[in-house]
């Protein structure tokens, strides 16, 4: 099937929401194919426009395409030869004018936000990533052993591949289509491997930055949002200075995530890449104390600001004894540890809360030598917001959990904590809602013996910093959620300061959007109203994997440090995957940037051919059905109807080395020996296919092929010869 034939199939079956580029393409197709343009010149111009629009819809357009389309459309709209041509020209002109940004977005991102332009529909993993990383491309590159190239692709959207490889909450894996078959591809861990390998081989490099534009931007906070914004602004040629209260870069990545999960060296190495790029850091500088926005504006000439101050304040327990006895908030405890204060907080410690911060604090206490560490949580294990893996690892290390435990008071004597007074709880759904709330059980008081209580019940944004900025009712900084601009001109914000305590990758995504917003602010370009479309960085071929291997390859288990070592040191717990496991894991990827799971292959195989070999139940998002690629070969006849109807060349069929091979994005679904014509040697197809055809035509009459393998041409020749003898003889006699 040629590329120009593909769209006709797409149009008939596409159920994606409309896209102006696709609509324009269809309009042109209809007019050309329907013979509406009768004048040859008009038809030629319309065909040229259609070819250019196809390029836009298929991700092949360059910067010259849209001006060229505009020029041709003008010509068509002025065509004196035909009224229909003028009408079409005006319609396409209006399409272009009304949807200029969408056309440009297709050219720039090589993705179609609606997925209507089938070749440009982004993969679910890429769409899910808050930073919009082109996951299928870098996973394929990792599978090919091109680690530095993979990191270069990742850093176009996320300057911290190594950090994210270790601590990302991995929305991509939740949306990974492979998870509908067995388990998602371990995207996070293979990214960490590639980053580590690129660094260790000295191939982790910065891209070329634009020439300086002389504009100064100040970023407050060297966390993931602040540093991401700094990175992308610096690449665009801005003079960027980052102000940070701490003595080194990282923000919550440094002070909130313990070293056994994210070693400081990882943050240091990736932050150093920003310094190499020319980003200036001012450490130990507290915003609104050591410097103010006025001073930065007037004395230093900064023209725009990015406020990424995080959510550094903690909630209090508000129970008796909290103010009387010396407790330490989890976030302060973790910060102190990150800064080198590594004294154990007590011998017997209770951590209050059920989130990741509570677990991080508990596991750190174990490492500091606390004799008993208990996490007290108001709800049950099922309701805990902490990562299940983290909870399990904490249990392995000896942390105990007291669920359904409501704090009542901190008790003690002589100024020292002696116990934590609690009440048992039961979960009750409040009237009109499904949310289960803990309700104290009467006379169920009990005391947990302890000498330190560490509250970890959530964080909030410090409202004393830059109080002039408008806050939301959640006390976060109010911004336009796409451009990240605040109501104060030239001031942008993102990360935890905007979302409340959220994730590293969300902060990175916000920082990247803010960099774009700041650049538009300087250039007087209106801010976008819709979230950005993720950019397809490359369109790589697929890695060939036999169906059996595709099914038997399993998500690798991350090797962990032994619990005994984990109890005594801050050594990294996750030891990382080896190269063999990483490459095999990349081979599990289904390449959803190419296979859009439109189901046309399934429909044609089942409904048109009546074979029903393609049992690809994972195509359905809501109700996936168990899929086994190996079973396809049991019924597939190798007819190629699925490949012919695939709009994106995800399903391919080829004859090679005496075999017909059917593949779906590199997964070899069927491989059958080819039968050749006994007379001329031409390829006829696999035996099953020939039998299928034979069965379909057997009612028509006896076929010589029943006994011998003869191709159509030879058969025709044979029939013609025998027919000629029969029919010509009587005539000759006459």
């Amino acid at each position: 099937m040629t590329e120009s034939q593909a769209p006709n199939n797409i149009d008939q079956l596409s159920t994606a929401p409309p896209c102006p580029v696709n609509d324009t393409r269809l309009r042109l197709d209809r007019n050309i194919a329907g013979g509406i343009l009768s004048h040859p010149r008009s038809r030629r111009i319309a065909e040229e426009i259609r070819d250019l629009v196809n390029d836009v819809a298929w991700g092949r357009a360059g910067n010259d395409h849209i001006p060229a389309i505009r020029e041709l459309v003008e010509e068509l709209a002025m065509d004196p030869n035909a009224e229909e041509a003028r009408k079409l020209g005006l319609q396409v002109k209006a399409d272009l004018k009304d949807n200029q940004e969408v056309f440009e977005s297709h050219v720039q991102t090589r993705n179609c936000a609606n997925g209507a332009c089938t070749r440009l529909a982004p993969a679910p993993c890429q769409t899910a990533c808050p930073a919009g990383i082109d996951v299928p491309t870098y996973v394929t590159l990792i599978g090919q052993g091109k680690y530095a190239e993979a990191i270069e692709i990742i850093r176009r959207d996320n300057p911290f591949p190594w950090v994210c490889g270790l601590v990302c909450t991995r929305p991509c894996e939740y949306m990974c289509v492979r998870g509908r078959i067995d388990t998602p591809v371990s995207i996070k861990s293979i990214k960490a491997f590639a980053a580590e390998r690129a660094f260790s081989e000295g191939n982790y490099a910065n891209p070329l930055k634009a020439a300086s534009n002389g504009r100064k931007v100040c970023i407050v906070g060297a966390g993931p949002a602040g540093m991401t914004c700094a990175y992308y602004l610096s690449l665009k040629g801005y003079d960027v200075t980052v102000i940070e209260a701490m003595p080194s870069a990282g923000g919550m990545m440094l002070t909130g995530i313990p070293r056994y999960r994210l070693p400081h060296e990882v943050i240091d190495r990736e932050a150093a890449m920003l310094e190499d790029l020319g980003v200036k850091f001012r450490f130990n500088t507290v915003f609104d104390v050591d410097t103010t926005i006025d001073r930065l504006k007037k004395e230093e000439g900064f023209e725009a600001f990015f406020i990424a101050i995080g959510a550094q304040r903690c909630w209090d327990l508000n129970i008796p004894g909290e103010a009387e006895f010396a407790t330490i908030k989890a976030i302060h405890f973790l910060r102190n540890m990150a800064l080198g204060i590594r004294r154990r907080p007590g011998r017997r410690v209770v951590i209050v809360g059920g989130g990741n911060v509570a677990i991080d604090a508990a596991r750190s206490c174990v490492r500091l030598g606390c004799e008993s560490v208990t996490v007290a949580y108001r709800r049950s294990r099922d309701e805990m917001p902490a990562d299940i893996e983290e909870v399990e690892q904490a249990e392995e290390e000896g942390v105990t959990f007291s669920f359904l435990t409501i704090p009542k008071a901190i008790v003690g004597e002589n100024g020292r904590i002696t116990g934590f007074d609690c009440q048992r709880a039961r979960l009750v759904a409040k009237e009109g809602g499904t949310r289960l709330s803990p309700v104290p059980i009467a006379d169920s008081d009990f005391i947990i013996d302890c000498d330190m209580v560490i509250p970890a019940i959530g964080q909030r944004v410090d409202d004393d910093i830059y109080p002039e900025l408008k806050r939301t009712r959640r006390n976060t900084i109010e911004v336009a959620s796409v451009s990240m601009e605040t109501r104060t001109p030239g001031v942008f914000s993102a990360g935890d300061a905007v979302l409340g305590p959220a994730t590293v990758v969300e902060a990175i995504g916000g920082g990247k959007r803010a960099a774009e917003g700041i650049d538009r602010y300087f250039n007087g370009i209106p801010q976008p109203k819709m979230p950005p479309v993720p950019v397809r960085r490359k369109r790589l071929g697929c890695i060939e994997v036999p169906a059996a291997a595709k099914m038997t390859l399993k998500r690798p288990e991350m090797p962990h440090l032994i619990p005994e070592r984990r109890k005594t040191t801050f050594q990294q717990v996750e030891l990382g995957l080896d190269e063999h496991a990483v490459q095999n894991e990349a081979r599990r990827c289904l390449r959803c940037d190419i296979c859009l799971r439109c189901g046309k292959c399934i429909a044609v195989c089942r409904d048109k051919m009546g074979i029903d070999a393609l049992k690809l139940g994972y195509f359905d998002f809501d109700h996936p059905v168990k899929t086994d690629f190996r079973k396809i070969a049991d019924r597939c006849i190798g007819c190629g109807a699925c490949a012919m109807n695939c709009p994106n060349h995800a399903m391919t069929i080829k004859d090679k080395d005496g075999e017909r091979i059917l593949s779906l994005c590199g997964t070899i679904l069927n491989r059958q020996p080819l039968v050749c014509c006994e007379q001329c040697g031409a390829v006829m197809g696999p035996r099953r296919y020939l039998d299928f055809v034979q069965k379909r035509v057997e009612t028509v009459g006896n076929d010589i092929r029943v006994k011998r393998d003869i191709c159509d041409n030879c058969l025709r020749e044979q029939s013609a010869l025998s027919g000629a003898e029969i029919s010509t003889s009587p005539k000759m006699e006459e």
Binding site: N114, G115, P124, T127, A128, C129, P130, G132, T169, P171, Y174, M175, G353, G354, G355, R378, R379, D382, E383, P385, D387, I388, G433, T434, R435, I457, G458, Q459, R460, T472, R473, R474, E478, A480, S481, V482, L499, G500, P501, A502, T503, E506, K529, M530, P531, P534, F621, D622
Partner: protein, 69 residues
Amino acid sequence: MTFKKGQHVEVFQRSSDESWAEYMDDFIGRHGIIVDPDTSINDPAALVEVSLEGKGTHRLPQDSLRVLE
């Protein structure tokens, strides 16, 4: 916390919450998966991180979401 990590949900209605942006109207009817159930522990008003099929990952108010069985 009403939602749990990995749960399938539907954006079934617009929210009157201040965090609801105009572009989120396009999300109504979309299905997705809970990635991070809340930003603030035990806060019924906390924003929930959801990956929506074909629409990306967003923080949405809880009253716009319902769990799919």
